[in-house]
Amino acid sequence: MGGERDTMGPMLIAFLPTMRRFALSLTRSADAADDLVQAACERALVNAASFSPGSRFDAWMFRIIRNLWIDRLRRARTRAAVPVEEGEAVAGADGAALAEARLELSDTAAAILRLPDDQREVLTLVCVEGLSYAQAAEVMGTPVGTVMSRLARARVRLAALLQEKGIDVRAPRSSPVRESRS
């Protein structure tokens, strides 16, 4: 019966830009992102029946994309037989530099790609894709408290990285409101 597949197909196509943006942030590579999105779409079609109507489709897809990516990292590590630090992409420290060179990125995007994997992921889910803390926690399979502590660290780090480039994210409100002290 084609009900879920009939529904799933148009949604997948409509969400391609969003899925690819998330995959780009995870993989830091256009080619890897495209592969990942394609594999995620295949998995979504096979598992169409497990999507519960009423829940956010993008969050469901992010979870699929994320789990596939983690599987791939794990396999790559096993193949390489080289211990890789938790939270570090297989592409290594060069990954961000490579991505910056290949993609035409804004300063902020470039800075986001320099964040550690776990911080980059949560910042992308909440600040770029607009998920709530609870939704991000579900995608990542972590408690909300972990989402919050990682996200706060990610934003402090992002602000520092941008500061290095002479960008002050606090600009609109950078001067303290002295007169409010009475």
Binding site: G3, T7, G9, L16, L103, T108, S174
Partner: protein
């Protein structure tokens, strides 16, 4: 806040900036903002990073190769198991019951959009004649409207009722939808099987949803029908099945 040096935690300031703070937490942050200027600066960091990140990637164009690959995948998905193609058709005749403002569930809305486009097998099911898919799509709705359901749907759940020479209809359950209408889930059998939902309005049973299995030529039993029905039931805010006594009272009251 009496202690002017008190700085809320980064998590709390961030939750405030993101609109995720509880009213009590928000009040605490606002008190701290009034008491200590440095709080505003720290808060600005969280507001600023969110703002900067939101537009950081824009919407990079999807490469044609990826789009084409996914379109091909979607297009061939139902064809992977050829017997499925014409085996089951879903028909929502009425998008929503009166009194329900919108289809709140995006997937259900997408389901409605997709079912409108499928060929309907029930025309052939009812008439027992061969029609082209196009004819069936039109005739299915019209003929289903003339299935004599009146008696069958007045029966207690589980009772099968012969409907003329047109097969049997069995009421499966009774429930109320979000609009408070009495609805029945029913099954009709002839060459194939039809699973439907009819709701009582203006003194008649109106069939709002039907899912048709074609004759089981190859012994194939569609697996996804239950989910399509579930999506539909959820979209109309279907309540739990009535117990036999409630059901009998509701049916008697509806006649």
């Amino acid at each position: 806040m009496t202690d002017k040096s008190a700085m809320p935690t980064d998590e709390l300031l961030m939750a405030y900036a993101d609109g995720e703070a509880s009213p009590a937490e928000a009040a605490a942050v606002e008190a701290a903002l009034r008491a200590e200027p440095a709080v505003a600066e720290r808060l600005a960091l969280f507001e600023g990073t969110r703002l900067a990140a939101r537009g950081a990637f824009g919407a990079p164009p999807v490469p044609d190769a990826l789009r084409e690959a996914v379109e091909a995948m979607v297009g061939r998905a139902p064809a992977r198991t050829p017997p499925q193609v014409a085996d089951a058709n879903v028909v929502a005749f009425r998008a929503r019951p009166r009194g329900t403002a919108v289809w709140r569930r995006p997937a259900a809305a997408a389901l409605a959009a997709s079912v409108a486009a499928v060929a309907i097998g029930f025309g052939a099911f009812v008439a027992g004649s061969r029609m082209t898919p196009g004819e069936r799509a039109g005739a299915g709705v019209a003929q289903l409207a003339h299935v004599p359901l009146e008696n069958a749907l007045a029966q207690p759940s589980g009772t099968a009722e012969e409907v003329g020479g047109r097969g049997r209809v069995r009421a499966l359950s009774a429930f109320r939808n979000g609009a408070g209408e009495l609805c029945r889930e029913f099954e009709a059998e002839r060459e194939g099987r039809l699973l439907g939902v009819a709701c009582r309005r203006e003194g008649v049973w109106s069939v709002d949803f039907a899912l048709v299995d074609a004759p089981r030529a190859e012994g194939y039993v569609p697996a996804g029908g239950a989910e399509a029905l579930d999506s539909y039931l959820e979209s109309i805010d279907a309540g739990p099945p009535l117990d036999p006594a409630e059901e009998a009272r509701a049916i008697a009251a509806a006649r």
